[in-house]
């Protein structure tokens, strides 16, 4: 019975059918299916398949962003049914566009994908100073800090932010992305990981939290 629920959930995630997904989740919860199982066996495989389709060029940013939103709503529905220990998020990510840059599209799409994968996202918005990143990092103690930049002047500000975090003994891994960043300059500014797109960003987030090597 549970397998039927899970495979239907996967289908709804892949078809971006939010209403039907929320309905089947409701039904499964009422039937006593464990919330953690719904996430691990129903929702996560669906998101993984979307990621795979993105990687091979079958899906694109609209599908990635849409699935992130749907997954977030599904998780919001499930969480109240979970025990406190079970309902722990995948991790906490602090996001922002570097100081001097006001572009947010890539950051927002990445944020939606992270939330869809169960991360708690603190989005500081755009034009975020190194001091603001530091202050918020002290406050929320994130697992990952993600900084985006579309214009190159902001790359220097990312380097400044990373240096300031280190000076203040913040050990959180920093990942970067955006048109102004490349794998090469990721290394020179001292970041731990680079995501060329939102899905790669999610993968590097998972890997760094799991203690694996960074920069892709």
């Amino acid at each position: 019975m549970n397998d039927t629920y899970f495979s239907t959930m996967k289908e709804h995630v892949l078809a971006f059918n939010e209403a039907a997904l929320l309905e089947i989740i409701e039904k499964a919860l009422n039937q006593g299916v464990a919330p953690a199982d719904i996430i691990s066996d129903g929702l996560s495989p669906g998101l993984e398949m979307i990621g795979q389709k993105f990687e091979v060029g079958e899906y694109f940013l609209p599908e990635l962003m849409l699935s992130g939103n749907i997954m977030k709503n599904a998780l919001d529905k499930i969480r109240p049914h979970m025990l406190i220990t079970e309902s722990k998020m995948s991790g906490t990510v602090l996001l922002g566009t570097a100081e001097g840059d006001i572009h947010y599209i890539g950051k927002n799409i990445f944020g939606a994908v992270l939330e869809g994968d169960g991360y708690k996202v603190h989005d500081l918005g755009v034009d975020v100073s190194p001091q603001t990143f530091l202050g918020k990092a002290k406050e929320v103690n994130p697992d990952i800090i993600g900084i985006s930049a579309l214009i190159s002047v902001a790359v220097s500000k990312i380097a400044e932010t990373i240096a300031l975090l280190k000076e203040n003994n913040i050990q959180t891994k920093v990942i970067v992305g955006g048109a102004a960043l490349t794998r090469e300059n990721t290394k020179t500014i001292g970041a731990d990981g680079y995501g060329a797109d939102a899905w790669q960003g999610l993968r590097i987030t998972r890997e760094l939290i799991a203690g694996e090597e960074g920069i892709r």
Partner: protein
């Protein structure tokens, strides 16, 4: 330094016609960042009058020693179109000025709702600054040097992103009709830009068209065509201008776009891009499209930003060696040269083109 503008023009003309020039032409896509470093002026000072803008544009292009004459305020109807939209809609507060780099509009604020899109006012490009200043500057430059700036429409995606923000990506799936309505408004605005350009700066000979939707990590080709490509084709057909396609994305749909445009009866005369970085990809492209001029060779965030002068020289040398002998090549670091690119590396491009680009090409 006095440049031989006539020689620059003849060099480019020869390449575009498939004839052998005296050397490979060199183009730079200048923008506010590099212009501020060379002129010592802030962006607002540079655009304070048509005369100043024309004077500083000539100064910057002469300093760089390139064969084109790009206005120093970004090559296309993108960031400053954001300012025009902000002004036309009484929302100048959403435009963020910068002293030494390209200013931008805050994304997504002008078209947050369906009503915003419905009520969006299209700028009058012959009246709404900075466009009149830009067009008058182009006219002055033409009179002084005989060289013209490219008409640079932006149909439509960069403007979609500026106006609608990340919501546009959800609209592709959830609200395509609304997104199409916005695209039609942008098309009307770009058409007005073209008409004002013709009236104030003269009839252009080609259009330098930015095709930002055509990147495979962003949209499917079908969606990119639906929300941008069909407007590019429409613009080319209605203006009868041949296209120089510009795409500075990392995963471009170059071949698919050019073939589709050809199917639609649109002539593409040149492709300006940095990616793919593999030179052999461009060799294959040349075989496939022998009549299309390649404008590229360097990516501004690769050797230009992170390499040495020697790296830059070697990249230019390799590109000219493989693609120069057949002609139809213009070396162009792509896209605009941002901060963090050392001036040494910019000058290294000029030196390398002079060193290796003379015809007949004879490298190693």
């Amino acid at each position: 330094m006095i440049r031989d503008y006539q020689a620059c023009l003849e060099r480019t003309r020869a390449v575009m016609l498939g004839k052998e020039p005296d050397r490979v032409p060199l183009y730079f896509l200048t923008s506010e960042d590099v212009a501020a470093r060379i002129t010592g002026l802030t962006v607002r000072e540079m655009i304070s009058s048509p005369e100043v803008l024309a004077d500083k544009t000539i100064m910057v292009n002469n300093f760089l020693g390139c064969d084109n004459m790009a206005l120093v305020t970004n090559a296309y109807c993108g960031p400053f179109e954001g300012l025009a939209y902000a002004r036309a809609n009484g929302r100048e507060d959403v435009f963020v000025w910068k002293d030494y780099t390209t200013p931008f509009i805050r994304e997504g604020l002008l078209c947050q709702t369906e009503e915003d899109i419905e009520n969006l006012v299209i700028p009058d490009h012959s009246q709404t600054e900075p466009w009149p200043t830009f067009f008058k500057a182009i006219k002055i430059i033409q009179e002084k040097t005989g060289m013209g700036h490219q008409l640079g429409p932006s149909l439509t995606w960069s403007n979609v992103q500026m106006l609608r923000g990340s919501q546009a990506y959800l609209d592709v799936k959830l609200n395509p009709d609304l997104l199409m309505k916005l695209c039609e408004k942008i098309y009307a605005s770009q058409w007005d830009y073209y008409e004002a350009y013709c009236k104030m700066a003269g009839q252009p000979v080609s259009a330098f068209e930015c095709s930002y939707a055509f990147n495979r990590h962003m949209l499917s080709f079908e969606d990119a065509w639906k929300f941008e490509g069909q407007f590019i084709a429409r613009f080319a057909r209605e203006t009868k201008l041949p296209l120089i396609i510009h795409n500075c994305g990392f995963k471009p749909y170059h071949i698919e776009l050019i073939e589709k445009l050809w199917e639609e009866g649109v002539s593409v005369i040149a492709l300006n891009a940095s990616h793919p970085l593999d030179i052999d990809w461009w060799v294959d492209f040349r075989k496939r499209f022998p009549d299309i001029t390649i404008m590229g060779g360097l990516h501004v965030s690769a050797e230009m930003e992170n390499g040495t002068e020697e790296d830059v020289e070697n990249r230019v040398k390799a590109f000219i060696k493989k693609l120069g002998p057949q002609g139809r090549l213009i070396i162009t670091p792509t896209c605009c040269m941002p901060w963090r690119v050392p001036m040494y590396n910019i000058k290294a491009v000029t030196h390398a083109v002079e060193k290796y680009g003379k015809y007949p090409i004879d490298i190693d």
